[in-house]
């Protein structure tokens, strides 16, 4: 996984709440057996609408998404994270994420930055007043920032310590766990014999 430290880029305001993973990528686009190529399905139902934020010139090349609360609820499909990444997104900012989506983001290297609701509003106001102006998400200092001078926005975001560390180091979760394989083997030795097996 690529290391993430800080990212600055164009931020797109997605001014909707409860954007579930079916909206991020509908089921009909989940049939690929690779991790790539899902960008075509991203927000598929809305992409034909010329007014949709990613169809506007200023936000077309956005790498940061600023979304309303409860982003990524619903289905566990990691394809939602891949679709955002395949499109070019590096970070998503919201005041609340679906649990599984946030977990998937951490595993896949998409930075899910949880901020206070008023920060989302401030960032929406900023990017709409300054379309295409960069927003910065700094994982090291856990801050989001944008603008300069009196209009500058800077606030903290929350992400758990462990995910932050893994993202900063670009570590493979499976490799970390396999370094504790002795613990797994020891646990298996004491599992009750009444536990079921599939074979």
């Amino acid at each position: 996984m690529e290391k993430i430290t800080t990212h600055s880029g164009v931020a797109a305001p997605l001014k909707r709440s409860n954007v579930d993973t079916d909206q991020i990528i509908p089921a009909v686009y989940l049939k690929r057996v690779t991790r790539s190529g899902f960008e075509d399905g991203l927000f598929a139902a809305w992409r034909n609408d010329p007014e949709f934020v990613l169809n506007q010139d200023a936000y077309r090349d956005a790498t940061i998404l600023i979304a309303g609360p409860d982003f990524g609820t619903g289905s566990s499909r990691e394809h939602a994270v891949w679709a955002l990444q395949n499109y070019g997104f590096k970070a998503v900012i919201s005041s609340r994420f679906g649990d599984i989506f946030r977990g998937n983001s951490g595993k896949s290297g998409l930075l899910a930055a949880e901020v206070d609701e008023k920060v989302v509003q401030a960032l929406w106001d900023f990017v709409e007043a300054n379309p295409g102006a960069p927003v910065t998400v700094d994982l090291e200092s856990r801050t989001v920032s944008a603008g300069e001078g009196v209009d500058r926005i800077e606030d903290s975001f929350s992400i758990d310590d462990y995910t932050r560390w893994r993202l900063l180091e670009g570590l493979d979760d499976v490799a970390i766990t396999l370094s504790h394989e002795d613990d797994i083997t020891a646990y298996e030795a004491k599992r009750p014999s009444f536990k079921p097996a599939t074979i």
Partner: protein, 474 residues
Amino acid sequence: MGKTMAEKIWDDHVVRSHAGEPDLLYIDLHLIHEVTSPQAFDGLRLSGRSVRRPDLTLATEDHNIPTTDLDKPIADIVSRTQVETLRRNAEEFGVRLYPMGNLDQGIVHVVGPQLGLTQPGMTVVCGDSHTSTHGAFGSIAFGIGTSEVEHVLATQSLSQAKPKMMAVEVTGALQPGTTAKDLILALIAQETTGGGQGYIVEYRGEAIEALTMEERMTVCNMSIEWGAKAGLIAPDETTFEFVKGRQHAPTGAEWDAAVQYWKSLVTDDDAHFDKVVTIDASTITPFVTWGTNPGQGVPLSASVPDPATIEDANERVAAERALEYMGLTAGTPMRDIDVDTVFIGSCTNGRISDLRRAAELIEGRKVADNTRILVVPGSVRVRLQAEEEGLDVIFKEAGAEWRGAGCSMCLGMNPDTLVPGERSASTSNRNFEGRQGKGGRTHLVSPDVAVATGVLGHLASPADLPPVPATAGV
């Protein structure tokens, strides 16, 4: 201080605990299907890893599976490729697979309990958010993403931060004509789609204890729809009775040891819940959704709500959008909403008891002229059981379509989809925009409401149905 049931199960599965890190939890059962596993197996191949415990892993085909023409290859080539990829992966990595055509094929969350693989006190994961279903047995069961599927395949464990604990106290008793589905829909409407976020919830109280296992599965299935990490119900005699004698259930002395352990898992009297919410089951009536998330629901006897009366700005805007998408006007009585398609099935309500109830209600009646009813059993065994009982004949005589097993119209990955603007009453779990097909409009309902709706052509409950004509059955 005592522990909650979830804390006990959690603690019993900790492989490794270290300050500042999530716990490493052992996984007792890993269920797999064709949609969320191919990239995980690819990951194993790329890193030269194997499946650590094929004997704790089970695969089936469900999301893409057609429900008609079952003797022919899957027509959609992309779907077929995905299914064939699962078959190759299962073969290569030594994972047991129940493919199309096998007696044990079906929706993954119907298959696990049916085989007796889902038991109390377990950790169960699957790359599917409705894994919460298995919590009905008193297990910690939750959906995971594909990276985590790969992690479990390689290590049989998962790094997890311990969620907070919530109790849902269901007081009173469900009234006749009101189902487990109405209960969970009413609860989600009360707590909203984000209300359970960060919690493992334990459903408890008189009304929960009175539920059958299949009804408990309906409740736990929708835990994810209010954002909970998992939902579970204390194992009791109802649970033991359901598990006993199934293919993978323990026997003899092992059974006794298991039951003794399972009984020890019940939440201690002095356990602490971080949050307690209460709902009075006796006040609940048939419940339906009007919007585009499962929290946007009202009693069937109510009307489409007016967004202007919603205080929270985000909820208000969401409601306005939802009404536009759903093609509904505030103030319209829910019963006045005409429905094109009724879907009876899914991991929420596709079990034999759901089909029995639906058949009982539709017997001697006819599907309304402008409506169709699709009945999709949750598994091949459910289908065969229903056919043995003659339920298929009852459905077909009423004019409903009797199909093969799978996820089907719950998410429309197979050909069973709505067309734009088509309105459904569905016993499934999600009414998201486009969930059942692009532009489709979904109302979540119980099997009872589904049947009544299919017969009358508009949202309705069995109480609205005229008596069965006396000539029926002659």
